[in-house]
């Protein structure tokens, strides 16, 4: 039996020995990382959906292709003079392209389409209403303005989404950090119990000259496995929940996009798994550092 195989065997036998405590630790990691990953995914959904609506913009008028800069300037001046309008600014095709690069940063398929056809995105006027509730008047007037191709408006859902994101994100992060600390403490506890259960073996290992890393590594592996399992559960849970949301909420207004690029999910998911493993390693290291049996 190789040394590595020996260590994994020891780590797994420890996991089995304190099944209940181990389960508690894994659940704590799971909940903490579900909140973390959920927050990341939700934040990404909101970010993708609200990018154009920053700075109190409520109405966007996409312009026809054949307008001259003079036409655009005249139109901008006209719209700005409307009593309901607080401010208007112009987003050129080039600026729209830059914006799209950010908007679809996590969507490579979309990015490549845009990059291949940099002209595909129309120029637009972004309108800030004086009173956010009066945007529908602006929409109606813009739709009858020559040179405007299409008008898109943000309703209260956008406001709600942004407010929800800000509120939830803060709460989720606080919970995630608190539960993360609890997870580390619980993992430390399982390792503590594993060390206690094996104190005779450890004593003999030290007597016959097993190196410190040989004694400690199985416990580090055990902690890492607990963190990894918790993290994997969290990633699976969030991915399934997100998929369900996409399927169930298919009749949402078409400007709300719940689908997130796989690239984002894979990267952030891997990061969350790493967090789980790190929590496990930190927990077991804490336990190893304070345990008397392991001091030389």
């Amino acid at each position: 039996m190789t040394t590595v195989a020996y260590m994994f065997k020891e780590a797994f036998s420890n996991l089995g020995r304190n099944a209940l405590v181990v389960l508690g630790a894994i659940l704590a990691v799971f909940i903490s990382l579900t909140l973390t990953f959920g927050t990341l995914v939700f934040g990404e959904v909101v970010r993708v959906n609200t990018l154009q609506w920053a700075e109190d913009v409520r109405v966007i008028a996409f312009l026809q292709e054949d307008l001259t800069p003079q036409d655009v300037a005249a139109m901008q001046e006209d719209v700005a003079s409307w009593p309901q309008v607080e401010d208007v600014f112009f987003v050129s095709k080039a600026e729209a392209y830059e914006e799209a690069l950010v908007l679809f940063a996590n969507n490579e398929a979309m990015l490549s389409v845009i990059e291949d056809n940099q002209d595909i995105l129309p120029a637009s006027l972004r309108v800030q209403p004086v009173d956010p509730d009066e945007y529908d008047i602006i929409v109606t007037r813009l739709e009858s303005t020559p040179g405007v191709d299409r008008v898109q408006s943000a309703d209260d859902a956008i406001d709600a989404m942004i407010a929800l994101r800000d509120g939830l994100q803060l709460m989720f992060w606080i919970l995630a950090v608190a539960l993360g600390a609890a997870a580390v403490a619980l993992i430390a506890n399982t390792i503590h119990m594993a060390i206690y259960a094996r104190r005779e073996e450890i004593e003999i290992m030290k007597l016959v000259g097993a190196s410190n890393w040989f004694v400690r590594t199985p416990f580090l592996i055990e902690g890492a496995i607990e963190g990894l399992i918790g993290g994997a559960l969290a990633v699976t849970f969030v991915l399934v929940a997100q998929q369900l949301a996409v399927d169930r909420l298919a009749d949402l207004p078409d400007w709300i996009n719940l689908v997130i690029d796989n690239n984002f999910l894979v990267k952030q998911g891997a990061l969350v798994l790493l967090f789980g493993v790190a929590a496990g390693l930190i927990g077991s290291s804490l336990s190893l550092a304070v345990h008397r049996t392991l001091r030389s």
Partner: protein, 285 residues
Amino acid sequence: MIKLENVTKVYPGGTVAVKDASLEINKGEFVFLVGASGSGKSTLIRLMMREEPPTNGDIWVAGKHASAMPGWKVPQLRRSIGTVFQDFKLLPNKTVYENVAFAMEVTGKHSSVIRNQVPQVLKLVGLSAKADRLPRQLSGGEQQRVAVARAFVNRPLILLADEPTGNLDPATSVGIMRILDRINRTGTTVVMATHDHAIVDAMRRRVVEIDRGRIARDESRGIYETAVQEAVPVTTEVTEVIEEYPPIDFNDDAASFDVAEFDQETEQESSAEIEFDASEADEAE
């Protein structure tokens, strides 16, 4: 092989366990550390195996400066030392074979080496037939032989034994001593802390007597020779007890049982003496 220079060990709370002890033990020697309980024998063994560092002084073990060694180097030192204790320290859920193999596994020995060495050392201690037994299925003497096998399986330069016969009856103790003697004859330095007068007197090896942390005597072919001052407090205590409980009948069963046991012990002593006198003649340093 082992060298102590002006070693002092003071425990937290001010207990002085070893005081200004200097001692040199050469390769292949067999040394008894004798002395009353609490005299500092066990502390000396613990210092030699670097279980704890001395408060003052220097210790060299197997060519390494053990007293100045950082914690992470201790495992390397331990691999050149085998250790045997009064309480055997066997793993109850592992068989005899597994207990011995464990000492090789955890020092990263290749499995083919383990499969080769473990049966050999089990044969040396006479437990080949019981390799698959669990410790609880063995007698005390057999368990201690497993512990000796485990201490020796990595072929250490030094074997440190702290009261290895402390839990064993005299007949069984002779068996253990025979194995330790055999191990010593392979060139392994053996240091054994003991209370056992019979064994020390029978083996006639180097005797280092520790008295209240100091080295009181060092003889190359010594006997146990209980110091008078040790006996005094014991006698006083016993006298006090007797005075306190006068109705004790010294001719009752308990008393006569003690006598019987003592006789038996004396008997074992003489048989051990014959055994080890012979072996010592072979060695004649």
